[in-house]
Protein backbone atom coordinates (compact mmCIF):
# COMPACT_ATOMS: atom_id res chain seq x y z
CA UNK A 1 0.00 0.00 0.00
CA UNK A 2 1.29 3.40 -0.97
CA UNK A 3 0.66 6.27 1.37
CA UNK A 4 -0.66 9.47 -0.09
CA UNK A 5 -1.12 12.60 2.02
CA UNK A 6 -3.90 14.69 3.46
CA UNK A 7 -4.35 16.70 0.27
CA UNK A 8 -5.90 13.57 -1.25
CA UNK A 9 -8.77 13.66 1.25
CA UNK A 10 -9.35 17.42 1.16
CA UNK A 11 -12.82 16.81 -0.28
CA UNK A 12 -13.75 14.15 2.28
CA UNK A 13 -12.48 16.30 5.17
CA UNK A 14 -14.47 19.26 3.86
CA UNK A 15 -17.54 17.00 3.70
CA UNK A 16 -17.02 15.88 7.31
CA UNK A 17 -16.09 19.22 8.90
CA UNK A 18 -17.90 21.61 6.52
CA UNK A 19 -14.67 23.57 6.19
CA UNK A 20 -11.29 23.47 4.47
CA UNK A 21 -9.18 21.24 6.73
CA UNK A 22 -5.93 20.42 4.87
CA UNK A 23 -4.22 23.46 6.42
CA UNK A 24 -5.62 22.69 9.91
CA UNK A 25 -2.95 21.50 12.33
CA UNK A 26 -3.47 18.17 14.08
CA UNK A 27 -1.69 16.98 17.23
CA UNK A 28 -0.93 13.28 17.48
CA UNK A 29 -2.33 11.78 20.70
CA UNK A 30 0.42 9.14 20.67
CA UNK A 31 3.65 11.09 20.12
CA UNK A 32 2.56 14.73 20.37
CA UNK A 33 3.83 15.69 16.91
CA UNK A 34 1.96 18.51 15.21
CA UNK A 35 1.47 18.91 11.46
CA UNK A 36 -1.01 20.27 8.95
CA UNK A 37 -3.44 17.51 7.95
CA UNK A 38 -2.08 17.90 4.39
CA UNK A 39 1.21 16.39 5.60
CA UNK A 40 -0.25 13.28 7.25
CA UNK A 41 0.06 9.76 5.81
CA UNK A 42 -3.18 8.78 4.10
CA UNK A 43 -4.18 5.29 2.97
CA UNK A 44 -7.10 4.99 0.57
CA UNK A 45 -6.63 1.34 -0.40
CA UNK A 46 -8.88 -0.08 2.32
CA UNK A 47 -12.63 0.17 2.71
CA UNK A 48 -12.25 3.49 4.52
CA UNK A 49 -9.77 6.32 4.82
CA UNK A 50 -6.94 5.79 7.31
CA UNK A 51 -4.89 8.81 8.40
CA UNK A 52 -1.61 8.24 10.23
CA UNK A 53 0.95 10.46 11.94
CA UNK A 54 3.99 11.01 9.69
CA UNK A 55 6.27 11.11 12.75
CA UNK A 56 5.23 7.90 14.57
CA UNK A 57 2.71 6.27 12.15
CA UNK A 58 0.01 5.96 14.86
CA UNK A 59 -3.55 6.23 13.58
CA UNK A 60 -4.95 9.76 13.85
CA UNK A 61 -8.27 9.36 12.08
CA UNK A 62 -10.43 6.76 10.39
CA UNK A 63 -13.28 7.77 8.12
CA UNK A 64 -15.59 5.13 6.71
CA UNK A 65 -18.63 5.85 4.57
CA UNK A 66 -21.60 3.64 5.41
CA UNK A 67 -24.44 4.29 3.00
CA UNK A 68 -24.47 8.08 2.81
CA UNK A 69 -23.07 8.61 6.32
CA UNK A 70 -19.46 9.27 7.23
CA UNK A 71 -18.40 7.40 10.37
CA UNK A 72 -15.49 9.35 11.83
CA UNK A 73 -13.08 8.15 14.51
CA UNK A 74 -10.77 10.90 15.82
CA UNK A 75 -9.42 9.09 18.88
CA UNK A 76 -5.81 9.41 17.71
CA UNK A 77 -5.93 13.20 17.62
CA UNK A 78 -5.18 15.12 20.83
CA UNK A 79 -6.06 18.42 19.18
CA UNK A 80 -7.20 19.78 15.84
CA UNK A 81 -7.30 23.42 14.92
Amino acid sequence: MTALDGNAIGGTLHEVFSAEMTAAVGTCATCGATAPLAETLVYLDGPGVVVRCRACTAILMVIAKVRQYNCVDLHGLAALG
Binding site: A3, D5, G6, G11, H14, S18, A23, L37, A38
Partner: protein, 250 residues
Protein backbone atom coordinates in the same frame (compact mmCIF):
# COMPACT_ATOMS: atom_id res chain seq x y z
CA UNK B 1 -33.55 28.06 4.24
CA UNK B 2 -34.88 25.58 1.71
CA UNK B 3 -32.76 25.60 -1.40
CA UNK B 4 -30.05 27.65 0.24
CA UNK B 5 -26.57 26.16 0.24
CA UNK B 6 -25.21 25.72 3.74
CA UNK B 7 -22.24 28.01 4.22
CA UNK B 8 -18.94 26.24 3.80
CA UNK B 9 -20.48 23.04 2.56
CA UNK B 10 -18.88 21.33 -0.40
CA UNK B 11 -21.47 20.14 -2.88
CA UNK B 12 -21.37 18.14 -6.08
CA UNK B 13 -22.34 20.09 -9.14
CA UNK B 14 -22.58 19.42 -12.83
CA UNK B 15 -19.88 20.82 -15.09
CA UNK B 16 -20.08 20.97 -18.85
CA UNK B 17 -17.03 20.21 -20.95
CA UNK B 18 -16.13 23.32 -23.00
CA UNK B 19 -13.12 21.82 -24.75
CA UNK B 20 -10.56 19.03 -24.63
CA UNK B 21 -6.99 19.98 -25.57
CA UNK B 22 -4.18 17.52 -26.31
CA UNK B 23 -1.00 18.16 -24.29
CA UNK B 24 1.04 14.99 -24.91
CA UNK B 25 0.08 11.60 -26.42
CA UNK B 26 -1.37 10.52 -23.04
CA UNK B 27 -2.38 13.83 -21.46
CA UNK B 28 -5.41 16.07 -22.08
CA UNK B 29 -6.47 19.38 -20.62
CA UNK B 30 -10.21 19.57 -20.06
CA UNK B 31 -11.76 23.03 -19.86
CA UNK B 32 -14.99 23.04 -17.85
CA UNK B 33 -17.93 25.37 -17.58
CA UNK B 34 -19.32 25.41 -14.07
CA UNK B 35 -22.33 27.61 -13.31
CA UNK B 36 -21.63 29.85 -10.29
CA UNK B 37 -17.99 28.74 -9.99
CA UNK B 38 -16.71 30.83 -7.09
CA UNK B 39 -13.13 30.84 -8.33
CA UNK B 40 -10.08 29.03 -7.06
CA UNK B 41 -6.54 29.49 -5.71
CA UNK B 42 -3.39 28.36 -7.47
CA UNK B 43 -2.52 24.82 -6.31
CA UNK B 44 -6.05 23.68 -5.41
CA UNK B 45 -7.79 20.61 -6.83
CA UNK B 46 -11.27 19.34 -7.60
CA UNK B 47 -12.91 15.96 -7.10
CA UNK B 48 -14.48 14.35 -10.16
CA UNK B 49 -17.21 11.72 -9.90
CA UNK B 50 -18.25 9.40 -12.70
CA UNK B 51 -21.36 7.26 -12.28
CA UNK B 52 -22.16 4.26 -14.45
CA UNK B 53 -25.69 3.37 -15.53
CA UNK B 54 -25.83 0.62 -12.90
CA UNK B 55 -25.11 3.16 -10.17
CA UNK B 56 -21.45 2.27 -9.63
CA UNK B 57 -19.46 5.43 -9.13
CA UNK B 58 -15.79 6.31 -8.94
CA UNK B 59 -14.20 9.48 -7.59
CA UNK B 60 -10.77 10.94 -8.28
CA UNK B 61 -8.99 14.17 -7.45
CA UNK B 62 -7.40 16.31 -10.16
CA UNK B 63 -5.33 19.41 -9.70
CA UNK B 64 -6.62 22.60 -11.25
CA UNK B 65 -4.44 23.56 -14.20
CA UNK B 66 -5.73 27.06 -14.87
CA UNK B 67 -4.74 30.20 -13.00
CA UNK B 68 -7.13 31.90 -10.59
CA UNK B 69 -9.55 34.06 -12.56
CA UNK B 70 -9.46 31.80 -15.62
CA UNK B 71 -12.12 29.24 -16.55
CA UNK B 72 -11.66 26.02 -14.59
CA UNK B 73 -9.49 23.46 -16.32
CA UNK B 74 -7.88 20.21 -15.24
CA UNK B 75 -5.08 18.27 -16.89
CA UNK B 76 -5.43 14.49 -16.84
CA UNK B 77 -2.87 11.78 -17.62
CA UNK B 78 -4.24 8.51 -18.94
CA UNK B 79 -3.25 5.59 -16.72
CA UNK B 80 -3.37 2.33 -18.66
CA UNK B 81 -5.18 0.43 -15.91
CA UNK B 82 -7.09 3.45 -14.69
CA UNK B 83 -10.81 3.47 -14.00
CA UNK B 84 -11.47 7.15 -14.58
CA UNK B 85 -8.59 8.64 -16.57
CA UNK B 86 -9.13 6.61 -19.79
CA UNK B 87 -12.69 7.93 -19.94
CA UNK B 88 -11.64 11.53 -19.24
CA UNK B 89 -8.81 11.51 -21.78
CA UNK B 90 -10.38 9.46 -24.59
CA UNK B 91 -14.15 9.48 -24.37
CA UNK B 92 -15.03 12.91 -23.07
CA UNK B 93 -16.28 15.40 -25.69
CA UNK B 94 -17.37 19.05 -25.61
CA UNK B 95 -20.87 19.48 -24.17
CA UNK B 96 -20.57 16.27 -22.11
CA UNK B 97 -21.36 16.66 -18.43
CA UNK B 98 -19.42 15.40 -15.42
CA UNK B 99 -19.91 15.85 -11.69
CA UNK B 100 -17.36 17.90 -9.80
CA UNK B 101 -16.90 19.41 -6.36
CA UNK B 102 -14.41 22.02 -5.29
CA UNK B 103 -12.25 23.94 -5.19
CA UNK B 104 -10.49 21.87 -2.52
CA UNK B 105 -7.39 22.56 -0.43
CA UNK B 106 -5.92 25.44 1.53
CA UNK B 107 -2.42 24.15 2.22
CA UNK B 108 -0.80 23.40 -1.14
CA UNK B 109 -1.68 26.86 -2.48
CA UNK B 110 0.15 30.00 -3.54
CA UNK B 111 -1.68 33.33 -3.44
CA UNK B 112 1.03 35.75 -4.54
CA UNK B 113 1.76 38.52 -2.06
CA UNK B 114 4.44 36.18 -0.73
CA UNK B 115 7.96 37.39 -1.57
CA UNK B 116 9.74 34.14 -0.78
CA UNK B 117 11.58 32.66 -3.78
CA UNK B 118 9.71 29.68 -5.16
CA UNK B 119 11.28 26.28 -5.67
CA UNK B 120 8.86 24.15 -7.69
CA UNK B 121 9.60 20.44 -8.00
CA UNK B 122 7.42 18.30 -10.24
CA UNK B 123 7.36 14.62 -11.10
CA UNK B 124 5.24 13.80 -14.17
CA UNK B 125 1.72 15.22 -13.95
CA UNK B 126 2.77 16.78 -10.64
CA UNK B 127 3.53 19.80 -12.84
CA UNK B 128 -0.22 20.59 -13.07
CA UNK B 129 -0.76 22.57 -9.81
CA UNK B 130 2.71 24.11 -10.21
CA UNK B 131 1.73 25.31 -13.69
CA UNK B 132 -1.27 27.06 -12.14
CA UNK B 133 1.14 28.77 -9.74
CA UNK B 134 3.56 29.82 -12.52
CA UNK B 135 0.73 30.97 -14.74
CA UNK B 136 -0.77 33.05 -11.94
CA UNK B 137 2.64 34.49 -11.09
CA UNK B 138 3.12 35.54 -14.73
CA UNK B 139 -0.37 36.98 -15.07
CA UNK B 140 -0.08 39.08 -11.94
CA UNK B 141 3.30 40.46 -13.02
CA UNK B 142 4.94 39.06 -9.90
CA UNK B 143 8.71 39.45 -9.64
CA UNK B 144 9.06 36.61 -7.15
CA UNK B 145 11.97 34.46 -8.27
CA UNK B 146 10.98 30.98 -9.31
CA UNK B 147 13.05 27.94 -10.18
CA UNK B 148 11.26 24.84 -11.37
CA UNK B 149 12.77 21.39 -11.74
CA UNK B 150 10.50 19.12 -13.74
CA UNK B 151 11.09 15.40 -14.12
CA UNK B 152 9.50 13.52 -17.04
CA UNK B 153 10.02 10.12 -18.60
CA UNK B 154 10.82 11.51 -22.05
CA UNK B 155 10.74 14.76 -24.03
CA UNK B 156 7.32 13.93 -25.52
CA UNK B 157 5.94 13.45 -21.99
CA UNK B 158 6.74 17.03 -20.97
CA UNK B 159 3.41 18.78 -20.39
CA UNK B 160 3.00 22.55 -21.14
CA UNK B 161 6.50 22.73 -22.63
CA UNK B 162 6.04 25.88 -24.77
CA UNK B 163 4.28 27.72 -21.99
CA UNK B 164 6.87 26.79 -19.38
CA UNK B 165 9.70 27.82 -21.72
CA UNK B 166 8.01 31.19 -22.28
CA UNK B 167 8.25 32.01 -18.56
CA UNK B 168 12.02 32.18 -18.84
CA UNK B 169 11.70 35.49 -20.66
CA UNK B 170 10.95 37.52 -17.55
CA UNK B 171 14.43 36.97 -16.13
CA UNK B 172 13.23 35.87 -12.69
CA UNK B 173 12.01 32.45 -13.76
CA UNK B 174 14.03 29.39 -14.56
CA UNK B 175 12.69 26.02 -15.67
CA UNK B 176 14.94 22.99 -15.84
CA UNK B 177 13.93 19.64 -17.25
CA UNK B 178 15.23 16.19 -16.45
CA UNK B 179 14.35 13.09 -18.46
CA UNK B 180 14.39 9.78 -16.64
CA UNK B 181 13.90 7.13 -19.36
CA UNK B 182 14.54 8.40 -22.88
CA UNK B 183 16.59 11.39 -23.93
CA UNK B 184 16.56 12.82 -27.47
CA UNK B 185 19.92 12.67 -29.22
CA UNK B 186 22.04 15.65 -28.27
CA UNK B 187 20.05 16.16 -25.03
CA UNK B 188 21.94 18.74 -23.00
CA UNK B 189 19.60 18.85 -20.01
CA UNK B 190 19.72 16.73 -16.89
CA UNK B 191 19.25 12.97 -17.12
CA UNK B 192 17.69 10.74 -14.48
CA UNK B 193 15.76 11.59 -11.37
CA UNK B 194 15.89 14.82 -9.40
CA UNK B 195 18.75 13.38 -7.36
CA UNK B 196 20.20 14.91 -4.19
CA UNK B 197 23.32 16.22 -5.96
CA UNK B 198 21.39 18.08 -8.67
CA UNK B 199 18.78 19.38 -6.25
CA UNK B 200 21.47 20.61 -3.88
CA UNK B 201 23.05 22.47 -6.78
CA UNK B 202 19.79 24.06 -7.95
CA UNK B 203 17.83 24.73 -4.74
CA UNK B 204 17.71 28.28 -3.38
CA UNK B 205 19.99 28.58 -0.36
CA UNK B 206 18.06 28.45 2.92
CA UNK B 207 19.25 31.92 3.93
CA UNK B 208 17.14 33.35 1.08
CA UNK B 209 14.01 32.04 2.88
CA UNK B 210 12.66 30.01 -0.05
CA UNK B 211 9.44 28.00 -0.09
CA UNK B 212 9.30 24.69 -1.94
CA UNK B 213 6.23 23.11 -3.55
CA UNK B 214 6.76 19.44 -4.36
CA UNK B 215 4.17 17.45 -6.33
CA UNK B 216 4.42 14.01 -7.88
CA UNK B 217 4.06 10.31 -7.13
CA UNK B 218 4.73 9.38 -3.50
CA UNK B 219 8.25 7.99 -4.09
CA UNK B 220 9.24 11.15 -5.98
CA UNK B 221 7.94 13.45 -3.24
CA UNK B 222 9.58 11.45 -0.44
CA UNK B 223 12.98 11.52 -2.16
CA UNK B 224 12.89 15.22 -2.92
CA UNK B 225 11.52 16.24 0.49
CA UNK B 226 14.24 14.22 2.21
CA UNK B 227 16.92 16.14 0.33
CA UNK B 228 15.29 19.48 1.17
CA UNK B 229 15.26 18.53 4.86
CA UNK B 230 18.95 17.66 4.58
CA UNK B 231 19.52 21.11 3.05
CA UNK B 232 17.97 22.52 6.27
CA UNK B 233 14.73 23.70 4.65
CA UNK B 234 12.33 24.14 7.59
CA UNK B 235 9.28 21.85 7.51
CA UNK B 236 7.01 24.85 7.09
CA UNK B 237 8.88 25.79 3.89
CA UNK B 238 8.30 22.40 2.22
CA UNK B 239 4.78 21.92 0.90
CA UNK B 240 4.12 18.50 -0.56
CA UNK B 241 1.35 16.82 -2.51
CA UNK B 242 1.49 13.13 -3.41
CA UNK B 243 -0.58 11.15 -5.83
CA UNK B 244 -0.94 7.49 -6.58
CA UNK B 245 -1.97 5.41 -9.54
CA UNK B 246 -5.30 4.29 -8.11
CA UNK B 247 -7.92 5.25 -5.60
CA UNK B 248 -6.30 8.58 -5.13
CA UNK B 249 -5.25 11.51 -7.15
CA UNK B 250 -4.54 12.46 -10.73
Amino acid sequence: MAGTAVRGRLTWQVAEVASVLPETPSVRTIVLEVPDWAGHRAGQHVDIRLTAEDGYSAERSYSIASAPGEPLSITVERLEDGEVSPYLTEELRPDDEIEIRGPIGGYFVWDGGDDRPLLLLAGGSGIVPLRSIMRYRAQTGSHVRVRALYSSRSWTDVIYRDELDSYRQDGNADILYTLTRHQPSGWAGHTGRIDPAWLTEQAWPVNESPVAYVCGPTSFVEGVAETLVRLSYPAAAIKTERFGASGGQK
